[in-house]
């Protein structure tokens, strides 16, 4: 029997980017806020010592910062006709664990989605007609526009100190920035990172082909910066230990560097770590959340009553918590009814590996978001008419790292061990680069999340089941992008190239992307969305759900910039909600 704790104004589930921003802003207006986090406390000073932080074996290979499958895992299958089996070792994606969440171990690429991405369904139909939409699609417009989100993108970028070059300030195009981006009110808070030789080659080649390359916006920041919360960051040292690592140099934007130092000073804030929320509790009529139940490290069960419940866990676990709590109707693909778990989407990766004869690249001088990119083939920045697919990709030449254990690309056909392999690694290490396309994934009737009928977690609760595969539309798009990448790689002067296509069913084994989106999407209609435009639950008005679980489908970008913008957007709405608690949207 859960022991009942004194009531709080706000309970936050998960203390990552969204949870920490919410906690700080709401504690600052005097609310009693408690954040309950499944994993341990982590901060830069105590956990990311420069002497031990760049430990590839511990962090990259043995997944020190990630969720252990024994804490929670998922079952997966490619389509509803299969039987899903549990993921016993994380592979395709790596959910974080502990304070800071994915904001600790991310690479730091911080994008804004394109204005058209937010009204993709209407836009595509207007330009190409209904016929452009793929079979079985659930593509839907966002209930919020780019212009509405712009001030909140700005807010997040200035909190995170993002390094980049504006391409469009108040409608005026800016040389050197992204020519396709939506108008922004002002430039990035810090200038772009220094690019390497490969990026210079890419920029020249892409420009020569008529494209519009620019330095990619980065949370590995270029110069010293102090954000509006007073938190300070140091210039990136290009050590290349970003993704899967905490940054010891205070150079990567994270809750640890950008929010927590201010948050822990708030007297009305409390964090409870190593405590897993098992359920959002509801009133008898199911219309109001009364708080949450959680289990601490000793297996003790507690009830934390609260007036406002903010679900701020990783996107997949937000969806599971809603399903386990009975908030919103679970999605059923056979009847195509229900909403929770609907519109799960992901990300595509394809491109071309470029082998050079004379070039000498330094992949070890890298950073998670170092790179030159182009958006000529993202969103609807190009004519989709001849291609027969929806969506696009950002094309990038980047080095995120050149680490000794896991970074040793070799040409196809090289043995995987032995002296021939060693020779190939030695010859290739500084002569290879990559032109990659990170693409959008649309939402479909048969890509979804629900509770598994068979497998359970250590607390006896059903695991979540992921049913997902890339659809024809995504394969077509990603493979068309791979050809474009290959053309650029050749124009850069590569002697040989190797095209990386998106073939075969999606597999959970090789790492691909931790950009799992959807499942608790925002929308204008409760029939096809879990949340209204303010990220407020349609069904339980004192529950708000943050994160990429709200994306109706995924764009050709990393999600964190948009997650940050939505958080500040929702925060403004929550401030209004607090004055008269009620549904913010009336139907």
């Amino acid at each position: 029997m859960a022991r009942r704790l004194p009531r709080k104004d706000v309970v936050i589930v998960g203390l990552g980017w969204t949870g920490s921003i919410m906690a700080l802003e709401l504690a600052r207006i005097g609310l009693e806020v408690v954040a309950i986090e499944r994993g341990p406390w982590r901060d830069t000073a105590a956990d990311f010592n420069i002497g031990t932080a760049p430990d590839e074996l511990r962090y990259a290979v043995r997944h020190d910062l990630f969720l252990r499958p024994k804490q929670e895992t998922l079952t997966m299958r490619n389509n509803p006709s299969q039987t899903a089996l549990p993921i016993r070792k994380w592979g395709s994606f790596l959910p974080g664990n502990g304070v800071g969440g994915a904001g600790v171990h991310w690479n730091g690429q911080t994008w804004r989605f394109l204005p058209d991405d937010f009204r993709i369904r209407s836009h595509m139909i207007e330009r190409y007609g209904e016929g452009i939409l793929p079979d079985g699609d659930h593509i839907q417009d966002w209930p919020v526009s780019y212009d509405e989100l712009e001030p909140y993108y700005d807010k997040f970028e200035y909190v995170a100190g993002i390094s980049g070059k504006a391409g469009n300030i108040k409608g005026v195009k800016q040389a050197g920035g992204n020519a396709f981006e939506g108008a922004r009110d002002r430039d990035y808070p810090t200038p772009p990172m220094k690019q390497g030789y490969a990026q210079d080659l890419f920029t020249k080649a892409a420009s020569g082909l008529g494209y519009h390359p620019f330095p990619r916006p980065s949370a590995n920041i270029s110069v010293a910066y102090t954000n509006p919360y007073g938190c300070s960051m140091a210039p990136c040292t290009y050590c290349g230990f970003c993704e899967r690592f905490g940054c010891a140099n205070y150079s990567k934007s994270s809750p640890q560097t950008c929010v927590l130092p201010a948050l822990i000073r708030e007297p009305t804030f409390e964090a409870r770590t190593d405590s897993e929320v098992t359920k959002v509790n509801l009133s008898k009529d199911g219309k109001t959340a009364t708080g949450v139940t959680y289990v601490d490290l000793n297996g003790e069960e507690w009830e934390q009553p609260a007036d406002l419940v903010l679900v701020c866990a990783y996107s997949l676990f937000n969806v599971r918590l809603l399903l386990l709590s009975g908030i919103g109707k679970p999605y059923d693909p056979s009847s195509n009814e229900g909403v929770v778990g609907r519109n799960y989407a992901y990300q595509t990766g394809s491109g071309s590996t470029a082998f050079f004869e004379d070039a000498k690249f330094n992949p070890f001088a890298a950073a998670g978001s170092l790179g030159a990119a182009m958006d000529d083939y993202n969103g609807d920045n190009f004519d989709h008419g001849p291609h027969g697919f929806v969506g696009g990709a950002s094309i990038t030449c980047a080095y995120t790292n050149g680490r000794p254990i896991q970074y040793h690309p070799t040409p196809q056909g090289t043995p995987t061990w032995g002296s021939q392999w060693k020779k190939a690694v030695h010859e290739t290490y500084q002569r290879v680069t990559n032109v990659g396309a990170q693409g959008s994934v649309m939402s479909y009737r048969n890509n979804y999340l629900d509770l598994d009928p068979t497998y359970k977690d250590p607390l006896g609760r059903p695991l979540m089941r992921m049913t997902f595969d890339y659809q024809e539309n995504e394969r077509k798009m990603a493979n068309w992008m791979a050809d474009r990448c290959d053309e650029i790689a050749k124009a850069m002067g590569a002697k040989t190239t190797q095209i990386n296509r998106l073939n075969g069913p999606w597999s959970v084994v090789p790492y691909q992307s931790t950009h799992n989106t959807g499942g608790a999407v925002m929308g204008s209609d409760p029939k096809n969305s879990v949340l209204n435009r303010y990220l407020q639950s349609w069904d339980v008005s004192n529950v708000f759900v943050m994160g990429a679980s709200a994306f109706p489908q995924n764009a050709g970008y990393n999600p964190t910039g948009t997650v940050g913008a939505l958080t500040y957007w929702s925060l403004d709405a929550i401030r209004k909600y607090l004055k008269s608690p009620a549904p913010l949207m009336r139907l």
Partner: protein, 414 residues
């Protein structure tokens, strides 16, 4: 209704009578004094010594380490049995001004009454009012932890005769009001000299070397006279205010014991008082060692130090020792680096540490411990290099000095 109100009034009166009978309740009309007293207790940083690790604020029980043995600090909450619940205003004022308990027994100058004696009676009364407004905490503290012969409190009679001049602060009419306010705070409640002035063998501050720097707990409390080499000569008044309020300037960050002073005390003081202290420190004069010649870069120890610095330090402190503003201290021209005594520099390399975190500058960055991978001569070389590069020029440091400090900090846990 009327009867009900009368009933309530009677009840309220009764409660007041009860309250008045309990000696641990503050007078009802001294709210303003208590608030003023809180600010003064903050300026005096009383909480730092009178709070045990993990204990209730002001409830005492902190083991203050002195060269003569540990002294457990007393409970300042208004608890009758274990705190100052039965102390009168006069009792309190006598303790602060004269270093004597209500029964006449001598207090030890680990309690900085040689400084607090300068505090006005009006201010000690306000601090008393504030302490009386706290909730009483029952915390019996063993007040007899000093070994023989230092446990003989009467011996302090002689100490006081030699080293203690009781008396309220006297303003210098030739100086500005601001200077005098600063002097009052620095020399009195702030008791800055307690750490920043060298001690004689009897644990008394050397009056002729006031504020010229002192080693304390294996850290150096630097020279805070206006000396350009080792002191505040190159700091502006605003730098000092920033440092005391935020724990840092653009190039320098507080760590070691000063971190606690700033977090508990100066960061919570009004800007006008910080400015007054800065004006006093800048205007009262300079004293320090003569400027030595730097050791040339060609010196073998300097070469080793340069190599270690490049490998181990430069990613954060930058190759020119310029640091990163608000995060990693600038080493060129750094006051801690330029002290004749290298203790703080060696200490922080061996053990690492955290810089101050304040409301304005919350990050509180960390310096990692390098003691596990640099041996004594390597630490000596890099310290010598840092102390003799970029315009810095204090004396060479040898491995023995590092070894001695390493032994002390690993034994004492500092």
């Amino acid at each position: 209704m009327r009867r009900m109100i009368r009933g309530i009034l009677v009840l309220v009166a009764f409660v007041f009578v009860l309250a008045a009978a309990g000696s641990a309740v503050a007078e009802p009309d001294n709210y303003v004094d208590a608030v003023r007293g809180k600010a003064l207790a903050t300026a005096g940083d009383c909480i730092a010594c009178h709070t045990a690790p993990g204990g209730k604020p002001f409830a005492g029980g902190f083991a203050l380490q002195t060269p003569f043995g540990p002294i457990m600090t007393p409970n300042l909450t208004p608890d009758d049995a274990t705190g100052i619940g039965r102390w009168s205003k006069d009792n309190f004022a006598r303790a602060v001004h004269e270093g004597r308990r209500p029964d006449g027994a001598y207090l030890y100058p680990a309690f900085p009454y040689p400084y607090y004696t300068k505090v006005t009676r009006r201010d000690t009364d306000a601090i008393y009012d504030y302490l009386r407004s706290l909730a009483p905490v029952s915390n019996a503290v063993n007040r007899s932890t000093l070994p023989f012969p230092f446990n003989i409190r009467r011996s302090m009679w002689g100490w006081n005769l030699l080293y203690f001049t009781p008396g309220y602060f006297v303003a210098d009419p030739k100086r500005s009001e601001e200077f005098n306010r600063g002097a009052y705070l620095v020399e009195g409640l702030g008791h800055c000299g307690a750490c920043h002035t060298p001690l004689n063998v009897f644990g008394a501050n050397k009056a002729d070397q006031y504020l010229q720097g002192n080693q304390i707990d294996n850290w150096i409390a630097p020279n805070i006279t206006n000396d350009p080499q080792a002191g505040l000569g190159n700091w502006s008044t605003d730098d000092i205010v920033q440092y005391l309020r935020n724990g840092q300037t653009r190039t320098s960050l507080a760590s070691g014991p000063m971190k606690d002073v700033i977090e508990n005390s100066t960061s919570k003081m009004p800007d006008a008082d910080l400015k007054a202290m800065a004006v006093y420190l800048k205007e009262r004069g300079a004293a320090g060692p003569s400027v030595p010649q730097p050791i040339p870069a060609s010196d073998p120890q300097m070469k080793i130090g340069a190599a270690i610095f490049t490998d181990t330090c430069s990613a954060c402190h930058a190759s020119g020792g310029t640091g990163v503003e608000h995060l990693f201290p600038r080493l060129a021209g750094n006051a801690i680096v330029r002290q004749d005594d290298p203790s703080s520099l060696i200490h922080i390399i061996l053990t690492g540490g955290r810089a101050t975190g304040t409301e304005a500058r919350p990050t509180s960055p960390a310096m990692p411990s390098l003691g596990y991978r640099l041996n004594d001569s390597q630490v000596a070389a890099v310290v010598t290099y840092i102390r003799n590069s970029w315009g810095n020029a204090p004396s060479r440091v040898d491995a023995d000095a590092v070894r001695a400090l390493r032994d002390r900090v690993s034994a004492g846990g500092n």
